[in-house]
Symmetry: C2
Subunit: 215 residues, 2 copies
Amino acid sequence: MTAPVARRGRPRSEDADGRILEAARELLFECGYDGFAMDEVAARGRVAKTTLYRRWPTKDHLLVALVARMQDEVPVADTGHLRQDLVDYLTAVADGLNRMRAVGRRGNPEDRSAGVVAELVAAAGRHPDVGEAVRALFARRNILPLALLDRARERGELRPGADSEAVFDQLAGALYYRLLVTGAPIGAEYVERLVDQVLAGAAGHTTPHPERTRS
Amino acid sequence: MTAPVARRGRPRSEDADGRILEAARELLFECGYDGFAMDEVAARGRVAKTTLYRRWPTKDHLLVALVARMQDEVPVADTGHLRQDLVDYLTAVADGLNRMRAVGRRGNPEDRSAGVVAELVAAAGRHPDVGEAVRALFARRNILPLALLDRARERGELRPGADSEAVFDQLAGALYYRLLVTGAPIGAEYVERLVDQVLAGAAGHTTPHPERTRS
């Protein structure tokens, strides 16, 4: 009786991980954060609960891994035309955030709450290891758009002094701020407005300086 | 025996509110979000529990009111020099966020979690009325910096087409993004970098256009 169990208990771990993450994605979009139960993930993913909990000790740890996978699905293309590349990338980011936001709406389209994303932000604050995992995930993932900005500066699409990190914070930050704080919509129209505003600048000077804006 | 009780139970409500909010502030900075207990707020504020709960049914409702009060303490000066006004305003916002972040650190200065702010964001997602209160609070409060940007455009410090809302989202959004998502520091040095980058723009053009950035 032990052989089949041992065989079933020894799938290649990426297969088990993949099944768990797909089950987690399905369950999250079906039931939302509150209704997301680890035992149900194990059942749907056809893995032993011990396997699941050994890999991800809490639902927050598992959800961070799911968000990492979803982020890796967002393409970061570099076609050499920065404005369009930024619009495409940020539209995909906003789409993902809007899907996550809809999960929390519990069927009410007027609900402007941030849903799952807000719960994950709180989990990151509550559990130091979840927080470290979230920050590592964004540090790893944000390398791609930051490199996109660096290359655009090298080929002259950004001014020489443009600060890639601050530029990226402005773009991603505006989306998350609207999602998490003000509840304002982040649709395709807003993404274009945002990218144009970030590229053009508020003052329209190429070299900002206190004396300059005071003249 | 009823007269003194009736007298004690009939303070002007703003006095009771003020005592409650001061007690809440003190307790929050002492004990953090998890240790924040409504009964202790009532005791420290010298109000009946029924008074407290009638006014704010949960700790999240009370904390939103406290954040509103703390935001109202952040000055938004318009001296006619936009860069400095933005730096001063956003430095004060960042200081407030950093104090709130420190509350969640539980004595560990290396902890980069967002603490109380993250918990409030999650509460706003979890309870529709808390979410509405948070969004109303920011809508009301953000009128001031948005007007600051509008006036700067009128006197020519911002380019005519500058989009105040998108500009403000970039500034506030970058701070919240670093606080809540990437965990990066938001100190005085970063605020200056951010303001300069937002004013100057990434491309350094005054009229952003797809064909322009592709040339």
